[in-house]
């Protein structure tokens, strides 16, 4: 019968709705096991690996992570300010951490190894500590550019022969690109006290840019596939894609005048529901063993000074020249610089 089957279906739907909402309650929480929630941009491969390693020591802890860009982490912490969901924030540039600290989103924690890193690599009030160093480098595709022809310094990428050959990752969500753009502006700002010279540099870069890519993965993929010949990006990522993702044609060069080095950090979230667990994981991933492992497997340069350098990959011990940078200025002015770049420079140099 017509209406009978409809009624059966409706009954079915209602009861399934009831069961579903019941199932959701069961899955949502309330279990007795210890929990830890991490917000992090470090990518699934590395996270799953570290969580598995952690669980082998602490099997009773249910570790959950949300992987997203570092700016997204910041936006989430802001939105959740009154009801924090995360316990630990693992990974972002020290600028982003400092911004969060200033907005009172982080809680102070002094790790056991606090005196084993340089003062510049940590917050004076213990709200964040540096974990890895991330050098920003010039990347190129060896199938298109011979190593001897590759750009040697920042200004070389402005050369007309790279017109329409440069790929740049959209800087708005990216700590790495913000820092590079900021560093280019600082090079002029420090003498002229104005961003104009830096804007000019970015204009000339824009004239050579083939595409601003959505994220780092697409940047590496497009570069490897020859959609562009060179790019500016962070060194650990280049290693990962080269060694683990099959993009063997990638290579990088340190800018000769000095490379920009970002400090990657870690912090406990203010009001973390599981602060104890957060601290335990904090100590775990910043232990000498974990840092050495991250260096060997994920090409992360450790900041801690008490690490046996012989355990690290050989290239990590080769010295490179650091570029000087006014991080405080970047933190204050970076937003406005980026807004100007986005509105007035991006894509306006074509033709």
């Amino acid at each position: 019968m017509y209406s009978k089957s409809v009624r059966t279906a409706l009954l079915l739907i209602l009861s399934s709705a009831f069961l579903l909402s019941f199932a959701c309650k069961g899955g949502g929480g309330g279990s007795a096991e210890r929990k830890l929630t991490i917000y992090t941009p470090h990518g699934q491969d590395m996270l799953k690996d570290f969580v598995a390693r952690y669980r082998s020591v602490h099997p009773e802890v249910n570790v959950q992570f949300l992987d997203m860009g570092s700016q997204e982490v910041l936006a989430r912490l802001r939105a959740e300010r009154n009801r924090p969901q995360a316990d630990l924030w693992w990974g972002a540039s020290h600028l982003t951490f400092q911004t969060a600290a200033d907005e009172n989103l982080l809680s102070a924690y002094r790790p056991t190894w606090a005196d084993k890193i340089p003062a510049a690599s940590r917050d004076a009030q213990d709200r964040w500590y540096g974990t890895y160093q991330t050098p920003e480098v010039i990347v190129y595709n060896t199938q298109l550019v011979r190593p001897e022809d590759a750009p040697r310094d920042w200004d070389d990428v402005l050369d007309a022969r790279w017109r329409d050959k440069i790929l740049i990752r959209n800087p708005n969500p990216s700590d790495s690109m913000r820092a590079i753009f900021g560093a280019m502006i600082w090079r002029y700002y420090k003498d002229t006290n104005s961003a104009a010279g830096g804007y000019d540099w970015l204009r000339r870069l824009d004239a050579n840019v083939h595409e601003y890519t959505v994220d780092g993965a697409l940047l590496m993929q497009k570069l490897a596939r020859g959609e562009g010949a060179i790019s500016l990006w962070n060194m650990p990522d280049v290693w990962v894609y080269k060694e683990q993702k099959g993009l063997t044609q990638l290579a990088y060069a340190f800018p000769s005048s000095g490379t920009l080095v970002i400090t990657d950090g870690i912090a406990v979230v203010r009001g973390a529901p599981n602060e104890e667990e957060a601290r335990r994981f904090y100590e775990f991933v910043t232990s000498v063993e974990s840092l050495t492992y991250a260096a060997q497997k994920y090409y992360r340069l450790p900041i801690r000074t008490d690490i046996d350098r012989n355990q690290l990959p050989a290239w990590m011990n080769e010295p490179f020249k650091q570029m000087d940078m006014n991080w405080d200025l970047l933190r204050r002015e970076g937003g406005e610089w980026l807004r100007y770049w986005d509105a007035e420079i991006r894509g306006r140099q074509r033709n």
Binding site: S5, L20, C24, N172, M220, G246
Partner: protein, 565 residues
């Protein structure tokens, strides 16, 4: 006569309609009005003071004016292109009979249920500058560089047309089915030429359907985010400007741009709402009652028609085929080659064995089912209320229900997160942020307009005398609802619910802002795998999602057929 008039009066004062009005009022107030107002007020605030400064700034910035202009222009062009593809297609499949017509006509609405994120990914693999097609052409013609780049206006319009022409196709098809064939015949017998019949008889009758399709296409295109993000090149559109402003932590700017976008979308909605045809969309979309089709008799024409259908279907299926191919590609085996060089089941076995990986599929199913079921129940409430002709404010209720559909997904997510993120006496300190329920609620709000429209359309087509007859025979309210009304609107309601369910399954733009570990949906897993360059795994997730969608559509089709027996 007396009993009926008594009944209708009782109907208005009946406590059940009061409850109905209360439910509808509360959901609209807390789900639509309050979050939208909060957003609007926030855009009028700076440093704790009321001001129009944000708008002044926005209107002074040339980049934002450009973005606004290009958003509208892109949407207008999208509407045009979609009409150019969808309308002739509907005529071909609706008016003529040729081999394999049925399969082709079903396939033609395929892009409607392809999740935007999955579609975007597949498009990059297929037509990207270094994608399969570009590489093949390059090898074939022995070119030195890629023959095209998937960026800018061309790419945007291609993708928009691919994903949105089904609005035109489906609605025109439904419109054609409703057209009185006798009118055309009468015109022809009076000596009108075919072209004249088309322009003077057929198209005027199709106008409501065409306008409805134009509105849906326009609003979807205004809210489109994935496409401009991945293929936009340098094109500035509002959704992207909002995204970038948010990423720069420039909240006032992002909010203000959001309001500008919402006002344009709502303006279009109000403009088009005068042509009520929109409502018939979903009901018509899934009904598919075929009328007389003209068989193509000439052998050559049959072959050509079938060939056109086949080529078109292959073009439509190519992105899905690409996804299938990549989902079997061995990790790292597809870098510079035209096609992946090594194949494996690893991607699937990885998903199916990892506990985490399966749970995202389960999460998506659970949340979409919840949202769809509540949308169905809610739409029955709304439709019953709005169908009462005497009720004041029916138009306003209808409009409010559609507001979430007119807003981009990001905006809905942000406004809900803002409204239910902290204790606030106005909302009874009800907190959604950080809980499992935030996503089902957002899915519900975003997609319930589809169900409401479907149910409303079915109710309008229902003959009211049936219920009156039942009432005069002494059937009470509930009995009348269950035995008369529900069976009649069931197919339309089911179709709308299914569409909402299927679209919610692949939702990404809102989910990414507010998901928590307990409700991590499959779209987030796909994006995360893409970010880590695990293309094969991402594609495998995409395929599983498509299989889920296909399965649920099959089940729904069974259910509908069963209820008709």
């Amino acid at each position: 006569m007396k009993t009926i008039s008594k009944h209708s009066r009782a109907f208005i004062l009946h406590p059940s309609s009061l409850i109905l009005a209360l439910v509808v009022g509360v959901v609209l107030l807390y789900g639509v009005i309050y979050p939208s107002l909060r957003l609007l007020l926030a855009s009028l605030e700076r440093g704790g003071a009321w001001t129009l400064l944000n708008y002044v700034e926005v209107l002074r910035e040339r980049a934002i004016l450009e973005a606004t202009f290009y958003s509208v222009w892109l949407s207008v062009l999208t509407v045009l292109f979609c009409a150019l593809v969808g309308v002739p297609l509907a005529f071909l499949f609706e008016r003529y009979e040729f081999p394999a017509r049925r399969i082709f006509s079903v396939m033609a609405s395929l892009p409607l249920v392809l999740p935007p994120l999955v579609g975007t990914v597949a498009f990059i693999f297929l037509c990207g500058e270094s994608g399969i097609l570009a590489r093949a052409v390059q090898h074939l013609l022995n070119l030195k560089s890629a023959p095209w780049s998937l960026r800018g206006w061309g790419a945007l319009l291609l993708f928009h047309t691919y994903t949105m022409y089904p609005f035109f196709y489906v609605l025109t098809g439904a419109g054609l089915r409703r057209i009185d064939a006798g009118l055309g015949e009468a015109a022809r017998s009076l000596g009108a030429r075919p072209a004249r019949v088309l322009f003077r008889v057929v198209l005027p009758q199709l106008t409501p359907s065409l306008l409805a399709a134009a509105l849906l296409t326009f609003m979807t295109s205004m809210a489109s985010f994935s496409a401009p993000l991945f293929f936009g090149g340098g094109v500035r559109v509002l959704t992207l400007e909002i995204f970038n402003a948010r990423q720069r932590s420039d909240a006032p700017l992002a909010l203000t741009e959001t309001v500008v976008l919402a006002v344009i979308s709502l303006g279009a909605l109000i403009f088009f709402q005068r042509y009520e045809g929109t409502r018939r969309f979903v009901a018509a979309a899934m009904k598919g009652a075929p009328r007389r089709r003209q068989p193509i008799r000439s052998g050559a024409a049959r072959v050509i028609a079938a060939l056109c259908g086949a080529i078109f279907t292959i073009m439509l299926a190519l992105p899905v085929i690409t996804l299938l191919l990549v989902s079997f590609a061995r990790q790292g085996s597809w870098t510079t080659e035209a096609l992946p060089s090594a194949y494996t089941f690893e991607n699937y076995s990885r998903i199916l064995t990892e506990e985490d990986a399966l749970s995202v599929l389960f999460n998506s199913l659970k949340m979409s089912a919840l949202a769809a079921i509540f949308a169905l129940l809610w739409s029955l409430c709304v439709a019953s209320l709005v169908s009462r002709r005497k009720l004041r404010g029916r138009r306003i209720i209808s409009l409010l229900v559609l507001v979430p559909w007119a807003l981009p997904g990001t905006v809905v997510a942000v406004s809900i997160a803002e409204s239910y993120g902290q204790p606030n006496p106005l909302t009874g300190s009800f907190i959604l942020v950080g809980t499992f329920w935030i996503l089902p609620v957002i899915y519900f709000l975003r997609f319930m307009p589809l169900v409401v429209r479907a149910v409303q359309a079915s109710l309008e087509q229902m003959d009211p005398s049936l219920e009156e007859a039942a009432a005069s025979l002494g059937a009470r309210g509930w009995r009348r609802f269950l035995r008369v009304r529900l069976p009649l609107i069931w197919p339309g309601a089911l179709a709308g619910t299914l569409l909402a369910f299927v679209i919610a399954l692949g939702e990404y733009v809102a989910s990414v802002l507010v998901y928590v570990p307990a409700n991590r949906p499959v779209s987030i897993a796909i994006a995360a795998e893409m970010r880590d360059f695990n293309l094969g795994t991402a594609a495998a997730y995409g395929m599983l999602l498509i299989v889920l969608i296909a399965l649920s559509m099959t089940v729904a089709a069974r259910l509908e057929r069963a209820s008709k027996v």
